[in-house]
């Protein structure tokens, strides 16, 4: 039982006639491009010399991939329009080098689409003129693709097989796919190790969230750590690969809370970060390894760094970090105008400059892809 399309046709014209008319118009269109100079964009595009942000803007039947300057978001460029099943947007991730985007999307002609409809995996080069390439079909729409550090592999998840869930690695070189893990437990790919040979993933079962690893080439599996006795989310590996930050829904003494933690791989110690009385959101690392989390509690709202530094919150609402720039170049956050998780209000993609000034990058329904350093 799943969702359907809200878009319908009104019918009645012969397909051959439509095809002929369409071809004629396309020919006319081609001629018009061939004879004219390309139009000058009314708004300048982003400069490669500046930090940029990539994001998808959701529309009912297609999402548009935009590239915008972080500090001057009006300088933006539409790179790609991705048609997808009505009402179901894409899920994307940026390659480590910041030059490609992998995304999952439901094919536009999916009948009665739903979150569990088989999705396609695509990759597109952000360089001008590149066409997206379909790498695989039948993957899970909602599980974000994970890149290997060298950008040669993408980890995806498939559901419904004999094992329940399969984590697979797809090669960008030859498109070949290798099964990495078949698991009866729900498994989420988190990150590859630096050498790309091992994939860390989180497994969920009734006893909690577990961080495990598996050799990509079919080797052994390892239990790394029990992250929580409950649900965890927003797992983020530090740039040096030594720590994993995440948010856990914790239950202590009958109290429920959403808290951020950091796992140290060397000691396997887990330590909380942030205000214990506040809800935590979206831990992210800067390229230099500075951790920042969103915090919403009785003491107000703030972005907190792991060393306890608090950045002043917005005039109203609260913010969920999405990316931190290199050095002290600021943050990209999802801003909410409301005051609580249950009433978050309107959302927008926002840049926070080092001086605390905020600038809206995009309003409305936006899927953040990544921060691209110059």
């Amino acid at each position: 039982m799943q969702a359907g399309s809200a878009v319908r046709r009104s019918g009645g014209v012969a397909p051959w006639l439509l095809t002929v008319l369409g071809l004629g118009l396309l020919a006319l269109l081609f001629l018009s491009f061939a004879l004219d100079e390309p139009p000058a964009p009314s708004v300048p595009g982003p400069r490669p010399s500046e930090a940029r942000v990539a994001y998808f803007e959701f529309v009912t039947t297609s999402d548009t991939l935009w590239l915008a300057e972080v500090a001057e978001p009006s300088r933006r460029e539409g790179l790609l329009s991705v048609r997808h099943a009505p009402e179901y947007g894409v899920l994307a991730s940026l390659s480590p080098a910041g030059d490609r985007v992998a995304y999952t999307a439901l094919p536009p002609d999916t009948a009665a689409p739903g979150r569990d409809s088989p999705a396609d995996l695509w990759v597109v080069d952000l360089r001008e003129g590149a066409e997206p390439r379909r790498l695989a079909g039948g993957v899970d729409l909602l599980v974000r693709p994970v890149w290997s550090p060298d950008g040669e592999l993408i980890a995806v998840r498939r559901s419904g097989g004999a094992g329940g869930y399969r984590l697979a690695a797809v090669s960008l070189t030859d498109g070949r796919e290798r099964a990495v893990l078949d698991s009866p437990e729900a498994a989420f790919p988190v990150a590859f190790t630096k050498d790309g040979r091992t994939l860390a993933y989180v497994a969920l079962n009734a006893a909690g969230s577990y961080l495990r690893s598996v050799e990509v080439d079919g080797g052994g599996q390892s239990d790394l750590a029990r992250l929580s006795d409950g649900l965890t989310r927003d797992w983020a590996l530090s740039p040096d690969g030594r720590s994993l930050a995440y948010v856990a829904l914790s239950y202590r003494g009958g109290e429920a809370s959403s808290r951020a933690f950091v796992l140290d791989f060397a000691t396997l110690a887990v330590r909380p970060v942030g205000d214990p009385s506040a809800d935590a959101f979206g831990p992210v690392w800067s390229p230099q390894g500075r951790l920042v989390i969103g915090s919403l509690g009785s003491g107000g709202v703030a972005l907190l760094t792991a060393d306890g530094r608090a950045l002043p919150g917005p005039a109203r609402g609260f913010e969920v970090p999405l990316a931190a720039g290199a050095g002290d170049s600021g943050y990209v956050v999802r801003s909410f105008t409301g005051s609580s998780v249950s009433a978050p209000g309107a959302a927008s993609l926002t840049y926070i400059a080092p001086d605390g000034a905020r600038k809206t990058i995009a309003s409305g329904e936006v899927t953040f892809v990544g921060w691209i350093e110059p």
Binding site: A3, W66, L231
Partner: protein, 457 residues
Amino acid sequence: MLAGSSLSIARDLKLPLVFAAALLAVTAAWARPESAAAEGCAFPFVPTTYEDLKDRQLFIDTIELASFDMLFPGDPYFGLGEIEVGPREDRHLEPARVPPVLLKSIAWIESAITQAGTLIPFGSIGPALVSFDCGHGVTQLTTGMTVPEGELGRGSPEQALVATHFAYNIARGARVLVDKWNKAPEERPVAGTDTIGHPAVVENWYFAVWSYNGFTGPGATRSNHPMDPIYGTWPRQPYSCGPKEDGLGHNRALYPYQELVFGCATNPPEVDGEPLWAAQPVTLPDLNDRQVRSRLRLDNFVFPYEDMDIPTPKPLHVDLTPQPDPALREKILGSPVLATHTDAIQIPSSPDGSAAAYLHVFNTGSGVLAWYAVASVPWITITPYTGVAVGLDMPCEPDVPCDRFGHMALKVDPRAAPAGPKAAQVFVYALGLPQMSVIDVTVGTEVAAGTSARGPD
């Protein structure tokens, strides 16, 4: 691909050409016939069905009738039956009712309230909507639709009604929703521990609606657990089926099913600028509330889920949709009358069994007639063996497919047929009605492979 220039190209003079070409391409694609049925579902073909007009008024009226059990009361498969009411430890049965707005919202989320495939125009007749996981029609029923459940490996008459007739599909969807409600407390949690779990409270359907899409837990692709990490955005704005400019969320990939349905009830879809129903506020459990969060914790998501019971989310609401006029049932279902173009037909004989005779089914009455054909012998194959014949009172839009007749091909399986003269019968039933036609079938002299005896145009 729009690489090389900004999207300001859309404001260029070429825009009309781009749009026109794209529109024609899309329209040409839409003009293609619907794709084949999902493999392994109730039928090896996609049965035909009637599609409502764009305003969906017929289907929405049908939903309201179904919500009040006014379509097929007492029917063990298509009637609502009884519903359990009361606290976990003291449930009793009452005649079932479903808040109509929930059924409307479910129908919108499932199919945009359409019975036919997405390529089929409004106000027309064509292949039914069948999803990859065998969801059928308006309510996208998968329960009981994934494998043939009839005799001889066929889809059953009940399955045929679900696939072909919007009213039966909607009625069955309502019944399945009630069945999901009734799984509590033995197999599901109770929503409404402080309101005796009464089904008149819309919010108390939280777990039943969740179950309609599958009571799946954390990590699953179809997970509907509201705290599931599979929903990449946290927190998330309330979902809306309304206009894209309403400041709410519209990307369904970001929401568990019950949030889609409750959000759609609160923010109804619009067709040509008009909402399909009056907005009905429905309160979701407050995930900011520590008690609610505690109830939804991971280690509570264990069968039979008794530790997940929650109080009614506040403020609570009651759907005050008035009970429909009983006369509406007759108007919607009509009075179908079964007829066939002949009562005797001859199938040409061919060595490879490819020769066919065609039998045509009419509805000389009104409404939608779901027909179902059965041969008296196993060596006659009928394809398709179910579909619809549509009365003249059911409106079709101009210039859209509107073949009101049912058609089936009768063939002889030469491997199974006996030697010598062959005679048999085909029975054509009007499903849900006490009507049947009997067709005498004979097998003709052998003809070349591929030859068919055609019925009247």
